[in-house]
């Protein structure tokens, strides 16, 4: 009978601090936790008492990787509370900035953090020696994504031009034209990315769960929509609490969530499972080439779904640039704001899944309460459920293989632990090593 004690203390190549603790005695799983030890960050408390105008700038600091996602969601929540409807141009530009960030984050994750596992190396540094063309491609793609963000948001991360109701600075047509030309040239790199992931063998592990993502009738949703579950539920964004049901657990500084089952999954794979019919044809072709079909229940495929979304976002960014150029960038002032007491919820599909911001604003325009629910927090219970299903199938394997499989599982979720604390390290508990 297997006795296995796994302890990964600080999981690498994820953002933030977390440990995996697995304890198996005589073939029975005693304990399987993903401990989140990142310090709580108290952003919601920081918002209380601040003017509503500062919320998007403060909350964008929750994360350097999905800062545009936080800023966009924050603006949505504030605008909902104050009854402001942004112009079509504003919505198009926000979406373009958002696609830049999804591309930046997904390229970082699939190339720098996930790919080394499949080349059997510890990090991107040895990969650069053996496969320089792969790493140079990643850097090139990431640079374009960052430049796209900077052209719209004023800088690569922590956007400064996004404001309530509009923008404080607009890109010039020639800037958009140049970015469009570079995005067209990037298609060859996207195709090469799809080919690379076709050649990588992902672990075979299936566990059905509930997949939740925003959905819109006419597009693959990233900004707004209805909260939609593969278990057949649908909610307006304002009813997010019926979905998230946050609870505190002793082993985690991040809260856990559950809806119709013991856990649910958000992120690229959940979006694909909910919205695959809305993908751009080139992204659908990429999914077909990569063997990604709905309903996909292998969590390791989240990275593959990210590759599919890279293809989608490049095409949709090109479409947006075309639309903006045809319309012409119009000089627009954000609409005047009539300060009033109010409450509003914003929701976006940021790189790692559905992000919610909920604000309460007082009569004086100061924030009286805030609630931010981050994708990684929503995935924690699902990662643990995956680990509980996966570990018993691995009991005959050497400890190093178990550790590698668990780390790769957690990494596939692309967790952003700093964001969610309010996560990685695997601990094999106990004195005995490996299998017996």
């Amino acid at each position: 009978m297997g006795t296995l004690h796994v302890g990964v203390h600080y999981i690498t190549r994820v953002e933030g601090h977390g440990h995996i603790v697995v304890d198996v005695a005589n073939g029975t799983l005693q304990r399987c936790d993903l401990e989140i030890v990142e310090t709580p960050r108290f952003f919601e408390a920081m918002l209380r008492g601040r003017p509503y105008t500062e919320a998007s700038h403060i909350t964008s600091r929750i994360c350097g990787i999905c800062a545009v996602g936080h800023a966009t969601t924050s603006l949505q929540a504030t605008e909902a509370a104050l009854g402001i409807v942004p112009s079509e141009q504003t919505q198009l530009l926000r979406k373009l900035n958002f696609f830049g960030e999804i591309l930046d984050s997904h390229i970082l994750h699939v190339y720098m953090l996930v790919a080394p596992d499949f080349f059997g190396v510890g990090s991107v540094f040895p990969l650069a020696s053996t496969h320089p063309e792969v790493v140079l491609r990643a850097l090139r793609m990431k640079k374009l994504a960052g430049d796209l963000c900077a052209a719209i948001g004023g800088r690569h991360t922590h956007p400064i031009t996004l404001t309530i109701g509009g923008f404080t600075h607009l890109p010039r047509a020639d800037e958009l034209e140049k970015l469009g030309a570079r995005l067209e040239a990037m298609r060859a790199d996207v195709d090469a990315t799809v080919e690379l992931f076709q050649s990588l063998k992902l672990p075979q592990f299936e566990r059905e769960t509930e997949y939740i993502a925003l959905r819109q009738p006419d597009e693959y949703a990233f900004i707004g929509g209805t909260i939609t579950s593969t278990d057949g539920f649908e909610y307006p964004i304002s009813a997010y609490r019926q979905v998230t049901n946050e609870t505190l657990l002793p082993h985690s500084t991040a809260k856990h969530t559950r809806h119709n089952r013991e856990s649910y999954m958000v992120g690229a794979l959940a979006r694909f499972n909910v919205n695959h019919d809305k993908l751009h044809p080139r992204a659908q072709a990429a999914a077909a080439a990569l063997g990604l079909k709905p309903l996909c229940t292998n969590p390791y495929m989240n990275s593959v779904a990210q590759v599919v979304e890279i293809a989608h976002c490049v095409e949709e960014a090109l479409n947006l640039i075309d639309r903006l150029l045809v319309r012409g960038i119009q000089p627009e002032e954000p609409p005047p704001v009539e300060v009033r007491a109010g409450e509003g919820v914003g929701a976006c599909e940021v790189p790692r899944g559905t992000l919610y911001h909920h604000y309460w604003i007082g009569e004086d325009g100061r924030i009286t309460g805030a609630n931010c629910i981050i994708p990684t927090g929503q995935n924690l219970a699902n990662i643990e459920a995956d680990m509980r299903a996966l570990v018993p199938t691995l009991l005959d394997r050497p400890q190093d293989e178990v550790r590698q499989a668990l780390e790769m599982l957690v990494r596939a979720y692309d967790p952003c632990i700093s964001c969610s604390t309010h996560m990685l390290e695997v601990s094999f508990v106990g004195a005995t090593q490996g299998n017996s």
Partner: protein
């Protein structure tokens, strides 16, 4: 890809005290005017993307605050192999990638300029406020002049191990 002979890359965050040294030297050099073929960039708190910033140049001169284990304002010139990357494999996270990681990645990719020289200055403090300490402020024109002298002198391919003049060469030079 930007092309040119020499890139001067100032690194650091002006909101973190003496970490603003790199941008301060960039600003000083811009005021002096630079020889043709020289590009000056304030690289801020750049991470792995610095590889792309440096690619295509024959030479890069990097200015940054560095833990030299010496008195504040002491400075040294050194080659990138001395910019130590501690526990790079174990602790690699995108939030921690900086110059040392970019140099390691550039070296692994074999795309670094043939000549890379780092001008490191010992900070007095890198707290949560803008502004250089008096000691580090005083060394800005000194390092700037040394960079101008380096530009004026004919570059030596394969070059010297160090150009250091202002202080002793710190054996334990460590990029921060």
């Amino acid at each position: 890809m930007a092309m040119g002979d020499t890139l001067i890359l100032g690194l650091g965050n002006p909101l973190r005290g003496d970490d603003g040294l790199g941008p301060a030297v960039v600003e000083w050099l811009r005021r002096q005017g630079l020889p043709p073929g020289t590009v000056v960039i304030d690289g801020g708190t750049g991470g792995l993307d610095l590889v792309l910033t440096m690619m295509g140049y024959r030479r890069v001169l990097i200015v940054d605050a560095a833990e030299l284990g010496r008195a504040p304002g002491a400075w040294a010139c050194f080659r990138p192999d001395l910019a130590r990357v501690e526990t790079m494999e174990a602790a690699f996270s995108m939030h921690q990638a900086g110059l040392a990681e970019a140099l390691a990645l550039g070296a692994a990719l074999r795309v670094l300029p043939e000549e890379v020289v780092i001008f490191g200055v010992q900070p007095a403090q890198t707290g949560w406020a803008p502004g250089l300490s008096a000691e580090v402020q005083a060394v800005v024109p000194v390092v700037g002049q040394e960079i101008l002298r380096t530009l004026a002198s004919s570059p030596q391919v394969g070059g010297r191990d160090r150009y250091e003049t202002g202080s002793e060469y710190g054996e334990d030079s460590d990029h921060r």
